[in-house]
Amino acid sequence: MPSVSDRAAPAHVDGEAPGRSRFDLTIVGGKVVLAVVLGALVLAFPMMATDAFILSVGVVIASYAAFAVGWNFVGGFTGYISLGHAAYTGLGGYGTALLVLELDLNPWVALVAAAVLVALLAVPIGIASLRVRGASFVIVSIALVLILLLVAQSWASLTGGAQGLRVPRPFGPDVLRPEQHERFFYLNVALVAVALAVWWFIDRSRFGTGLKAIREDEDKAQALGVPTGAYKLAVFVISAFFTALAGGMYALWFGYLDPIFQFSILIGSYMVLMSLLGGIRSLFGPVLGAVVVGYSLEFFKVHYGDSQFHLVALGLLLALVVMFMPDGVIPAIGALVDRFRPQRSSIREMTAEELLAHNASIDDKSAGTATATDDERDLATVPPRSGKDLR
């Protein structure tokens, strides 16, 4: 995955209030305004939607966003690209439906219970598949979906097989279709918000730092004492949990499960595409990607109908992102903004002497007080190329 030498270094400038230029303040202000406006737009969307169809597209996009954010726990932090996360949305969906149908549970209890069960199931799967890296991991993730597809199709007495499974609606019959869409839209948005909060929290924790170290160089991280196996497994389980919640929510909304669509590699590849397009290292990357990809998918379905052409479009889009924008849109915008940053006269922010002095001062500090924060230690090891964070 992205290497150490990438420009978007994870170390953050937040929290170093002195030394912040007016430019930075403007950017922060802009971000806040943007966040408020976008948040208001999202919340007001059901009011603005002109008809039930537009509203249902909104629900689909919101649930894609939930899928993508769930995926990004593994993909973004550890750089392990899973093409098979449809396994967890599918299991979440089937788990929820079966708990409602067989055990007569309350749908919302069933949703959470199914997600917990999927998280438990993800433990052995994670132990097996996280033993390998890179391409083998991708293979295993694809294999997982294919197995589950086989099982769901063959085990017809439980899953209904190719006949599909009808999921009872969680709201009573008096709640009409558009109102259902509206409620599920807000539920999905809430799920995305919770998942993003957890992501943000992990991003700033020691756990998150360890995970990002794994992403940059797993062997070095291990050598430095990061418990790589346990960390990867933990984040894998968290990811499975949130993805399963999103899948269960989708099942409750859609009301019908078919193995071909639940355990489909396509769904998994949507998640990858959305996250990569938005930027797997940024908090809102997957959400942005979900909006773009979800909208274009619906657009294609409306305009080209059932033809297979949407596969070509998806393939081309994925290829373009991989070839030309593997870091995603948000880092690209960040880089664009950085170009307008004043006082950036040279490519390299620090001369070698300055860097030496800087490192020496950090060494002094950590030698004097043993309480240097993680961030400082991180900074000390950042090579000069990503020196923009060292100011």
Binding site: I142, A143, H310, L314
Partner: protein, 294 residues
Amino acid sequence: MSGSLLLQTLILGVLLGGLYALLAAGLTLYFGVMRVVMIAHSAFLILAAYLAWFFHQQTGLDPLLSLAVTVPLFFVVGYLMQRGLISRLRPATLTMMSVLLTFAIALAIEGMLGFLFTSTQRRIQLGYSGSSIEFFGARIAVVKLIAFGLAAAALVALFLLLKMTRFGQALRATIQHPEAARLLGVNTDRIAGFGFGLGLATAAIGGTALALDSTIYPSLHWHWIGPLMAIIVVGGLGSIPGAAAAALLLGVTQSLLQLPLGTTWAQTVFYVALFATLLVRPQGFFGGRLAQRF
């Protein structure tokens, strides 16, 4: 269970394993030269099968003759794909991004096939499609024998090419140690492109063999990619003999399991083998040093 049924199943397993072995050899080649896991391999396989079907449909000639077009064509496509796309990815993230890139190519191929030929199931009907040979009470369809013969011939040719020719030597050198090969005057970039072309040519041959005796449809490649990936992981990424051995073993096991379990559940043997391999020996049973990190 009668002995002849068992024998028949065993033979069918070996015949299927031969095709698996050829395709897995192609995947191993890509992995060897570029450390790339080519998800689109089976999509190209289905593409070749469609080309064979289309050729037969249009001309009425034997689909085997389409090999004269598809093999060179796929070789060139493979070369161009390596030079134009794969080698342009960032080295640091090559392994992961190439998986996504080839996955995207697979989607595009599936979409194009569905777009051009619709998702109707297609089958080639030949004069000898229905005929079969008796062999100690086991009935083996002639088309399956032809498919196996094709796969075996291609594998032998590939083996001879790699072992006997200067080009094969250069290719193996590139796989073993690219820097050293470059120092000795091998143009590793070009050789890697040719390696890719060779790999894709195996898909052309395999696809034609597949078109002879099975029904094809655009999304069929998903049914192939899983088993093939399992085979190269079990065999150990990067080892052609390992891939061939795993292919034969798993092909025969799948055939034998079809008797008690039925076709669908028998497929799971690949995935069971895949997960068992990862738990016991993640680098595969035949792979060496190469496979460790991938």
